[in-house]
Amino acid sequence: MGSKSATIGGVAFAATGAAIVLAAHWMVAFWVPTEASMGLVQRIFYVHVPAAWTTFLAFGLAALASAAYLWLEDERADAAAVAAAEGGLVFGAIMLVSGPLWGRIAWGTYWTWEPRLTLTLLLWFTYLGYFLLRNSVRDVRRGRRLAAVVAVVGALNIPLIHVSVSWFRSLHPEAVVLNPEGPTLHPDMLVTLLTSLGGFTILFLGLLWLRYSAEMAGRPSDAEPAEQTPA
């Protein structure tokens, strides 16, 4: 795959995603009906849920790619893992900021031991460590490998985090979780949500593509010199 065509593809993807996200924002601001019980603040939901979905998609991809890198020691797996992890950090930040803003109104508190929120926070810190580690190891190849180990171990811990958070919550029954995907979602809301969801996903995939090809282009590749100088 030529890096130029990859860049064009990535830009096209990201631009499409960005356009859809913008359109979704317009829908959120001007089109979708206001939810009755929560009012305006409910509109954060159209940003929060897609951001959360994208975050999990990104961290999931990063963990899978990291495991693949440890297994196959293939540069491309590492490049994919970094690209995905970066996306996860960005979208995770959006989720972690928008979630509490909404929660302040919906739940009456900025922070609650809601399992997905807690899991995202811990994963977010894990991937913060991933980048801190990666960039602070002098031997580049070792840095990549150690970072991949961190990503894999972080993923292994998810079931335990899940159990602990749900147990913790059960001790604090006052933290009532409102189910935002309740059966009473207005069709217009659903359309807005799905638009935003699609936009975020495409935007993320575009950025992933871009970052991946930039990552690969920036590396003194293992394979290329051999191919370039067959004589």
Binding site: L122, V137, L146, S164
Partner: protein, 223 residues
């Protein structure tokens, strides 16, 4: 496999015994932390038993994290770890040996933490010492395993010990929750049946972290 792990653990403990610095510093830290908590808490308003559980676990966490950052100092001091890796010992055995030696230290730290809180906060744990040990032990193993594993990882980073808690704390959140809740309940003289579920999960974490550490250690040490 176990023979190698045993040789390495014995070697580590012998060095630890001769150096003593790290061990004594960890114990001193724990005792001082217990003292500081006792001074800082307004015990006319807070019942020490309500907060002692989490505090014991936090002190254990901090002490073992500080100690874990140093677990490979003796290996790196004159480059001995390179030769340990060049010896025919399998990587899981090296991890298990070092984690076992670390666990012995963390166990001493846990005992000291417990004693410090009993002493300075005036908590009596009547006849329930075995139960407390039963909750603390899997925690000790889990802390030792994660500390050893990530201690080696952060040793390669120029950020060193600063990075260690960033890597381990997110992983240790479930263990800290199960452990401190378990200990807190025992301090309130609740029956064992109320903590048995937590202890099972603590063991799941302890065994899981030992197994994952053993299996992944080669990716940490082999270039």
């Amino acid at each position: 496999m176990l023979r190698w792990a045993w040789l390495i653990a014995v070697k580590d403990l012998r060095i630890e015994f001769r150096a003593r610095g790290r061990f004594l510093a960890m114990i001193a830290f724990v005792l001082l932390a217990g003292f500081l908590f006792a001074v800082s808490l307004d015990r006319t308003r807070v019942d020490a038993r309500d907060v002692a559980g989490p505090l014991v676990w936090l002190v254990m966490l901090f002490a073992s994290t500080a100690g874990a950052g140093r677990a490979f100092d003796a290996e790196d001091e004159a480059g001995a770890f390179r030769h340990l890796l060049l010896a025919p010992a399998p990587r899981p055995a090296i991890f298990l040996g070092k984690a076992a030696a670390n666990a012995a230290l963390v166990a001493a730290v846990a005992a000291a933490a417990f004693a410090a809180f009993a002493l300075f906060l005036g908590i009596r744990a009547p006849g329930a010492l075995a139960s407390h040990a039963g909750v603390l032990l899997p925690g000790v193993i889990g802390l030792a395993a994660t500390g050893t594993f990530f201690g080696r990882i952060s040793a390669h980073s120029s950020l060193g010990d600063t990075l260690l808690p960033v890597l381990t704390f997110p992983l240790l959140v479930p263990m800290m929750f199960f452990g401190s809740t378990g200990t807190a309940r025992l301090l309130m003289e609740r029956p064992w049946s109320e903590v048995a579920g937590f202890v099972r999960l603590l063991w799941a974490f302890a065994v899981g972290s030992m197994a994952a550490g053993s299996l992944l250690f080669r990716h940490v040490v082999d270039d």
